[in-house]
């Protein structure tokens, strides 16, 4: 090659479309590849602060409203957190119905993610708003293949709706089901409900097998170079989900962690979870804390900081969470770590969950109890570790005087979209972006492909806030 000199160019994408919530990304591109990336969520609500000084019983209903795409995961995490604080085990029927509603929402979310949130990165949609205008460059699917995928986009809208109808049979309604309560579940598993659920599940399962998985394989083969893009660290963390016995020791998707491709360790030690704030606008007293004693003292301006998102780390490592982490830890998918591996493992997880749901619905007992009286302890603490469709979700509570004294939530997108830590290790999505080839800096579709592969949910990243460019001291109401 000659001696052409390149000037690194910085480009800001804000908003990043087809994610849940508000996300901004700034990338530096040099010689047609990303050399630096900064991820910033752009919404702050402070749901944890709203939970404080209320009865802990409000937590399942309130925390669901963090996210309209994964409300079931928050409802489950909050219910389990309160039950953990009281040493309470709900009836088997409740455990099974929680699994079935959560499973229905996993399927809904995975189908929504591939078709509605991701497919337009690879194929042009219909020739009308909101699918036009489009970034057409780099869309390799054309002609009949493209038409088929767009047809399936429409079919997927129908299927994801039916997933919610299926979940609502027991969940009461979706999104924001009212049926998850500490103590168990409110719906009764009547026979006609079981039969209707099975009917929906059969149709959804057929779609996953005959349409969703073949479509992901199609995109994966046409974009096989994306098996080499967006690897990131390869640190994978899963809390596990879908309890198959009342003690929770048997989970369909197991708990565990894997470092840089090593053999998974089948445990997660929550004491090894800390949140770092070196590059976040928080004071040093908030640094390196476990969520059981979380602190959020803002400091702005602050030298070198660039995000209101804290940086959760596990044993000091940034970790990717999500379907690929779960399937890897479970031993179900270990082909590789990349943009396309995330899509492929997500689709295979949908198939695995749907198959398990067919077994669980048969375990419901229409005449057994669904709920036992639950009483909030006067004082104590609890933790609920579960999974949202997009990754590991943890809730922590401290109860004092029968009321919520402190509630802490670490969402999957807090892990994936976190900023750098004190060792200058950037967050998992930032790391995955580095090295991504970019053809047209004005329409960097390659960047959004990497971001979308993580299925980020920024409404969930409740710590996040970004001030305007001017130096100004904010007083956050924590």
């Amino acid at each position: 090659m000659g001696t052409i000199s390149y000037t690194p160019t910085s480009v800001v994408l804000d908003p990043v479309s087809r994610v849940e919530g508000h996300l901004k990304v700034e990338v530096t591109v040099d010689q047609n590849a990303v050399t630096d990336a900064r991820i910033t969520g752009t919404m702050f609500r402070g749901i944890e602060k709203i939970l404080a000084n209320r009865t802990p019983l409000d937590a399942p209903d309130i925390t669901q409203r963090i996210c309209g795409v994964c409300p079931v995961s928050h409802a489950l995490a909050a219910s389990e957190t309160l039950e953990n604080a009281a040493g309470f085990t709900p009836p088997a029927n409740a455990r099974i119905m929680r699994n079935l509603v959560l499973g229905a929402n996993f399927l809904q979310s995975h189908v929504l993610h591939f078709y509605v949130l991701s497919a337009l990165d690879y194929v042009d949609g219909p020739a009308m708003p909101p699918w036009q205008p489009s970034w057409s460059g780099g869309k390799r699917l054309k002609g009949d293949t493209a038409t088929k995928l767009v047809n399936n986009y429409v079919a997927a809208l129908d299927i994801r709706r039916k997933c919610h109808e299926m979940g609502a049979i027991f969940g009461g309604r979706l999104p924001h089901p009212p049926t998850f309560v500490p103590g168990g579940f409110t719906t009764t598993p009547r026979k006609e409900r079981i039969d209707l659920f099975k009917k929906y599940l059969a149709e959804v399962s057929t779609f996953i097998r005959d349409v969703y998985i073949p479509d992901v394989n199609l995109v994966g083969s046409v974009y096989s170079d994306y098996l080499k893009v967006g690897a990131g660290y390869g640190n994978l963390l899963a809390y596990g989900v879908f309890d198959q016995n009342d003690s929770g020791t048997d989970k369909l998707l197991k708990r565990g962690a894997s470092y840089r491709g090593s053999a998974p360790v089948p445990t997660v030690d929550t004491k090894a979870i800390t949140e770092r704030v070196t590059y976040s606008w928080y004071a040093s007293q908030s640094d390196n804390r476990n969520p059981t004693s979380g602190d959020t003292t803002p400091q702005f301006p602050k030298t070198d900081a660039y995000s209101w998102l804290k940086a959760p780390r596990y044993n000091s490592e940034p970790c990717e969470v999500g379907p690929l982490a779960r399937m890897w830890v479970n031993g179900d998918y270990q082909h590789g770590i990349s943009v396309m591996d995330r899509h492929l493992s997500r689709a295979e997880e949908a198939s695995k969950v749907a198959a398990a749901m067919a077994n669980w619905v048969g375990e419901l007992n229409p005449t057994a109890p669904v709920y036992r009286q639950y009483s909030v302890p006067v004082s104590g603490s609890g933790v609920g570790l579960t999974e949202a469709p997009r990754g590991a979700l943890g809730h922590w509570i401290n109860i004092s005087g029968g009321m919520t004294a402190n509630y802490q939530i670490i969402t999957p997108t807090c892990w994936n979209a976190s900023p750098m830590d004190e060792r200058k290790q950037c967050g998992p999505i930032e790391k995955a972006l580095i090295g991504t080839p970019v053809d047209n800096i004005n329409e960097p579709i390659e960047v959004v492909r990497v971001i979308h592969s993580f299925d980020p949910c920024l409404s969930c990243a409740v710590h996040v806030m970004r001030p305007s460019g001017e130096a100004r001291v904010f007083t956050l109401a924590f």
Binding site: R18, R45, D58, R65, I66, V154, P178, T187, V448, G469
Partner: protein, 301 residues
């Protein structure tokens, strides 16, 4: 890829439930599109959870429009909605910049509340010319020229869950933030039938009268309790029992105006009370009450 509007519409087939749109409304909608005079719709998301958009996607009806896809193709020229649109960044921002050139006006749909705290910086809409544009500023500019403003959900209507005490980011509803009259399709989330009805009615003419909270009386004229099939039934004292009235457990149906008993949820799969849970009053400005499920602690019995 050049699938036409009609081709795409032909792909969208399904069945069930009524949206409450008259044949006259539908003819008018079709005329709007035939004459390419359909008003543009911009759907902005503020401080919320995207649950209202997800609920909209759950729309299903026995007669046209039968699905959310059909609404998007046939009935609404939805120019901007960040969860479904193709483009990001400047390409997306230039779409809303085009609003000021809309000669026939446009409909503004807002999901999520407007944080006034931190000078509006608790929710940023997008970046323009290298600067952050707060959601407060974005919604204020777009509201000023909108022919109608529809708030989808309780957050846009009056703040919702994010505005619950101590309201950490100072969230208010769109009407309070912009001082423009809004049509409030309340609910957390609202039923998809209510959302589609509100937008379609606004496009063809009027949603009719609004109550004191800006909700169309056509949708919010009766309390949940008033139409509840479990009204007058024996009282339940615990969760998990079919057929009982849930008022003693803290059901807020008596003071909550919503059509849930007749519309059901998710294609009539179930609804809160039929699932033996409580109405938690999600269509009321007082939502979320504290405590939310105040068994035995309310005074209105």
């Amino acid at each position: 890829m050049n699938l036409s509007r009609r081709d795409f519409l032909n792909l969208c087939k399904s069945s069930s439930v009524a949206a409450g749109l008259s044949a006259v409304d539908l003819i008018r909608l079709e005329e709007l599109f035939a004459g390419t005079s359909a008003p543009t719709v911009y759907w902005l998301q503020g401080s919320g959870c995207t649950g209202c958009s997800v609920s909209f996607l759950n729309y299903i009806a026995p007669s046209a429009p039968t699905t959310a896809a059909e609404v998007l193709i046939q009935n609404v020229n939805l120019a901007f909605h960040t969860t479904v649109m193709d483009v990001s960044g400047q390409s997306a921002v230039s779409i809303v910049d085009g609003a000021s050139k809309q000669r026939r006006g446009y409909i503004l749909v807002v999901e999520g509340g407007v944080p006034l705290g931190f000078n509006g910086n608790a929710c940023l809409a997008w970046s323009k010319d290298g600067k952050d544009v707060t959601f407060k500023d974005a919604v204020t500019v777009l509201a000023s020229r909108a022919s109608k403003i529809i708030c989808v959900g309780s957050c846009a209507s009056w703040g919702g869950v994010g505005a619950a005490a101590p309201n950490p980011s100072g969230i208010v509803g769109v009407q309070q933030a912009t001082r423009k009259r809004t049509i409030n399709i309340a609910g957390c989330p609202p039923h998809p039938d209510w959302i589609v009805w509100g937008i379609a009615k606004a496009l063809v003419g009027s949603v009719g009268t609004l109550d004191q909270y800006g909700r169309p009386t056509r949708l919010f004229n009766r309390t949940v309790h008033d139409a509840c099939p479990r009204r007058e039934r024996e009282e339940a004292h615990t969760y998990g029992q079919d057929g009982y009235c849930l008022e003693e457990l803290g059901c807020l149906g008596p003071q909550t105006r919503a059509a849930c008993p007749s519309t059901g949820w998710n294609n009539h799969a179930n609804w809160c009370v039929d699932a033996n849970s409580l109405c938690i009053g999600c269509t009321e400005p007082s939502f979320p009450a504290s405590p939310l499920r105040g068994a035995g602690e309310r005074e209105d019995d």
